[in-house]
Each structure stands twice: as C-alpha cells, then as structure tokens.
C-alpha cells in the first residue's frame, strides 16, 4: 500500500499525536536530570517538582505582599485585555470589511488606506501609543486592535469580494436593497469566515499583548515572565509559557467549536 493511503484509525491517531509531546517531555526531563546531577543549583532546566512548587506558590497561595493569587490575577488581567481588544477588532473588521468589500465606493476610498496602514509594524507604534494614551490598559488594547483589526478588515473585504457574483445578482433580482443584501446575504456568510480569520490572528494578538505588558504593566502573564526573568526563575517562566500556550489553544478550540455549532451550513458550503 502506498504511504499516502495509509490512514491511522482513531486510537492510532491519538497515540501518534501524543508521541511528540511525550518525546519533548522525556527529552526535557533527561536534560534537566543531567544538568541537576552536575549542579543541584542549576537554574536553566528546573526539575518538574521545582516547577510544581513554583506553580503551587503562584497559583494556590496568596502573595504575602499583595494578598493576591498571582497567577490567577495575571491571567484575569491578560485575558480581559486580550478579549476586549479582540472583540473590538472583530467588530471593526466586520463593519469595515463588509463596507469595503461590498461597496465599490467604499473600496475605492478606504481600500488603499487600509492596505498601506496594515503594513505599519504595530510594535513600532507602541511608543507612540504609550505617549498618547499613557501606560495604562487603553494603550495595550489599542496596540492589539491596531495590530489585528487592519488585517482582519482586509481579510473580510477579500472574502466578501470572493462571494460568487451570482449571489449578489440573484439577491437583486429578488428585490433586495444594498442594506438588505449586506444584512441577509453578506453578513451571515462572513461570520463563520471571520472566525477563521480571528483564529489566525490569535497568535499576533498574544504577541502584542505580551510585548506591551513586558514594557509597561504591574500585572499580566507577560509582565510576570519578564519580571522573574531578572532572577532567572525558569521554574516560573516555563509553567507560565505552557499556561499561555494552553490558553491560546483553548481559545482556538472554542472558536472552532463555535463555528461548527453556530454555522452548521458552513462545512458543506465550504466543501462545495
């Protein structure tokens, strides 16, 4: 049988998927054990127990100075920034993307501006945002919004233009106005596609969040890892990175499920 026709069944799929993770973990544990055997005070590759201790300290015990459970507090602060920013971006992208994609006048007016603006590296704007908006949450949200919304707008506009021309003609022959077409034909078809685009922008959104928190903050997941970096506290940094990854993965998964449940027609339409 040809290799490309060899498909693992469900059990095998799970086993195969677990394999790289297990290998990674094993390699880490071996490396860590070797280094610690040489020097018990080594900080670079802390043992799993050391990391467990750190997590317990950060997540399950209140901080003696502030009385806060630091890891939860960091998570809450980061997630609220991220979700607020993504909600704003998504809304902007939906409105402007559809306007630009559907109305030639809007496309001619705003298409080029959005195209140029989306080429500005958002991190380069961070100092400007901090100067204008101060070091608070507003600047961080603004950074994420600028960093993701422009790409999302372009994406939605392109996908609107990709709708078969026949559909828009058909709607007109059914007597629809521009507004009705936007509302009943374009918008509902853009929502599931927008979910795909947002999933792709989750990575950049986290990047901007952590960068902003690293520079100016007093809480947040990014703030914490950059803070403890000074003490080479790998036993905190590594669990935090894993936790951030897990959060991002869960957000991605949630969006995928939302797409499947809320837009049951989409899988079939995409395949067609």
């Amino acid at each position: 049988m040809r290799l490309l026709n060899l498909k693992p069944d469900r059990t095998w799929s799970i086993a195969l998927a677990a394999l790289p993770f297990a290998a990674l973990l094993a390699a880490y544990m071996m490396g860590s054990a070797m280094r610690l055997a040489e020097n018990p005070n080594d900080k670079l590759l802390p043992s799993l127990t050391a990391m467990g201790e750190a997590v317990k300290h950060y997540a399950l015990e209140p901080d003696p100075r502030s009385g806060l459970y630091l890891m939860w507090n960091d998570t809450l602060s980061s997630m609220s920034l991220l979700l607020t920013a993504l909600a704003i971006s998504t809304f902007i992208a939906l409105v402007f993307g559809i306007l630009i994609g559907l109305l030639p006048i809007m496309g001619a007016t705003f298409g080029p501006v959005v195209g140029v603006a989306s080429m500005v590296p958002p991190l380069a704007l961070l100092p400007i945002l901090f100067i204008i908006m101060g070091l608070g949450d507003a600047a961080k949200i603004a950074l994420i919004v600028i960093g993701t919304a422009l790409k999302l707008i372009r994406d939605v506009a392109l996908r609107v233009e990709d709708l078969p021309r026949e559909q828009l003609i058909k709607a007109q022959t059914l007597g629809a106005s521009t507004w009705q077409i936007g509302l009943r034909v374009v918008l509902p078809q853009m929502l599931p596609r927008l979910i795909d685009s947002v999933r792709l922008e989750l990575g950049p959104a986290w990047l901007f969040l952590i960068a902003a928190e690293a520079i100016a903050s007093d809480s947040g997941l990014g703030y914490r890892i950059f803070l403890v970096r000074r003490y080479l506290a790998m036993d905190v940094i590594i669990p935090y990175v894993i936790w951030i990854t897990l959060l991002a993965f869960l957000m991605d998964l949630a969006l995928r499920l939302l797409q499947r449940k809320a837009f049951p027609w989409f899988a079939g339409a995409r395949a067609a």
Binding site: P164, E166, Q167, I169, K170, A171, Q172, T173, L174, G175, A176, S177, W179, Q180, L183, R184, V185, P188, Q189, F263, P264, W265, F266, G268, A269, A271, A272
Partner: protein, 283 residues
C-alpha cells in the same frame, strides 16, 4: 405586456467585440432558447438583459421603456451554479424574496407575516417537488434539487421575465426530463417570458417557442489560413477580435407551442402550482 426589444445592440470589452448588430423583438409570453458555441456571448446577452452589463451601443427596451440599469425583481434569474444562498435552509431560500419585499429594514419577517410567507413558500416547494427537504441546507441537496430550489426562489417574486443561463447543464438526462416538465408548467401558469441559454439543441427545441442561434462570422485565423488569405496572422486576429457574434439563425419552433392563457392575471402562483400538483386551492 412586456415585449423585449433589442435595437442594434453591440457589446464590446475594450477592443474585443463580443456581440454586434443584435436586432431582436421578443414577444411577451414567448420561451426563447438561445444556442451558440461556447464563448459567443450568450451569457453576455443575458447579463445585458439583467441590467448587470450595459450595451456599448444600441438600446434595450422592455415594454417600450429603456431597460433598468440594475437587476430588479421584474427579472428573475437562475444560473448554472451559485443561484441559491448556501447559508439559508431550503425554506428560507424561497422565503427570502418575500422578506426582501415586505421587510425593508431587517429583511426578516416575524409573526403573522412570517407565517404567511412560510406557508406560501411551502406550497411552492411542494409544487417543485422539494417537499420534505424544507430544513436542509443547499449543500446537502443534489444538483437537480438545487436547480428546482433556484426556480422556486426565482418565481416566488413573480418576475415578468425569467432568465435561465444553462440551468440544467450539469444534470443527468433523467432529472433533466423531470425538470423540463416543471419549467413548462411554470411557463404555462405564470405570466412569464422566458429566455434560456442552453447547449442542448434538443432541449432548445423541446422547450422553446423560438430558437435563436448566435455565432461569430467565419473568419477565424485558421480558416483564413486554410483559404490562403494573404492576411498576416496579426491582422487576421485583429479581424476576429473586431467582429463579434450576431444572430445567425432565428426561427419559431413547430409545432407551435402557446402558453396556456391565464385564468386571471392576479391568481396566486403558488395556489395554481399546488393545484397542478393535486392539492385543492382553497375557495
């Protein structure tokens, strides 16, 4: 009634003349079948009739008035593909025309109005043989069912002209025969003028009251070369580009088919379709 008149219509894209000297009067209630080789401009012709494209020269009149320059509810259309909305169920696809008509702001009907539109759509779906599929999405329908749906959706808005662009091209012969019966019935029972593009000559003769063929003049480069024309290849191409297709055949189909007279102009379409299907119209 709405006679359609093409008065010396030309269509060019840049230097490329697609159609030229189209002079044509389509009588109301006729069923015109449009045939011709691929690329000769049949779709372009329909798109001008839809108002999606403007003629480069000449004018198109409908019922004595210049054609509206954008598609509207007077002219229904069924394309070969992409005619229905993938995000709406079968029922919603038929209802949406009524919703566009009655709900300007939200494009969605509620309460009593919605129930009325829904009942009407269900009647129509039954008439086109889609009963029992109301809650499916188009992607899970076969090609033939999708085209039936597209027809139901188009006639629900009661257009006066129905344009069909190879609507049955992708269907197998058995299903095609079924759908021919349906389209004949739709044509008989509604005050409709139909213009249908097809590649299938037997379909054209079976359905049409009139068959019109478009063709380009025979001066393709290879033919010119075969006749030993002294023209260089470049100028031969230039001639082809400069001359578009025009009407080369136009005849009424015999025996003459006549649309059945309508009992009264305002009889509800869906009721008639339903009655043709065996159900009793109320009243």
């Amino acid at each position: 009634m709405t006679a359609i008149v093409f008065d010396n219509v030309w269509k060019e894209y840049g230097d490329h003349v697609v159609l030229e000297r189209i002079d044509l009067t389509i009588a109301p209630r006729s069923f015109v079948a449009l045939v011709g080789p691929s690329g000769c401009g049949k779709t372009t012709f329909l798109r001008m009739l839809l108002g999606e494209e403007k003629p480069t020269r000449g004018k198109i009149l409908v019922g004595g008035n210049p054609l509206k320059t954008e598609p509207d509810a007077d002219r229904g259309v069924v394309f070969q593909r992409y005619s229905v909305f993938p995000h709406l169920t079968v029922l919603a696809n038929v209802m949406i025309g009524r919703e566009f008509e009655r709900a300007c702001l939200l494009g969605k009907l509620f309460g009593e109005a919605r129930r009325a539109a829904e009942a009407e759509a269900r009647h129509l779906l039954e008439a086109v043989g889609l009963k029992g599929h109301e809650d499916k999405y188009p992607a899970s329908l076969s090609g033939g069912m999708q085209q039936r749906l597209a027809l139901a959706q188009a006639i629900n808005r009661k257009p006066r002209i129905l344009l069909l662009d190879e609507p049955f091209g992708a269907l197998d012969p058995g299903i095609r025969a079924d759908i021919h019966v349906l389209i004949r019935r739709i044509w008989n029972e509604n005050s409709l003028t139909i213009v249908m593009v097809t590649h299938d000559l037997s379909e054209a003769f079976r359905l049409g009251t009139r068959v019109i063929a478009f063709e380009r003049p025979r001066n393709r480069p290879e033919e010119l070369e075969r006749y030993g024309a002294t023209l260089g290849e470049v100028s031969a191409k230039a001639i082809v580009a400069a001359s578009g297709a025009s009407i080369t055949q136009d005849f009424d189909v015999w025996p003459r088919k006549v649309a059945e007279p309508l009992p009264s102009a305002d009889t509800q379409l869906d009721l008639k379709l339903a009655s043709a299907n065996g159900a009793k119209p109320p009243g």
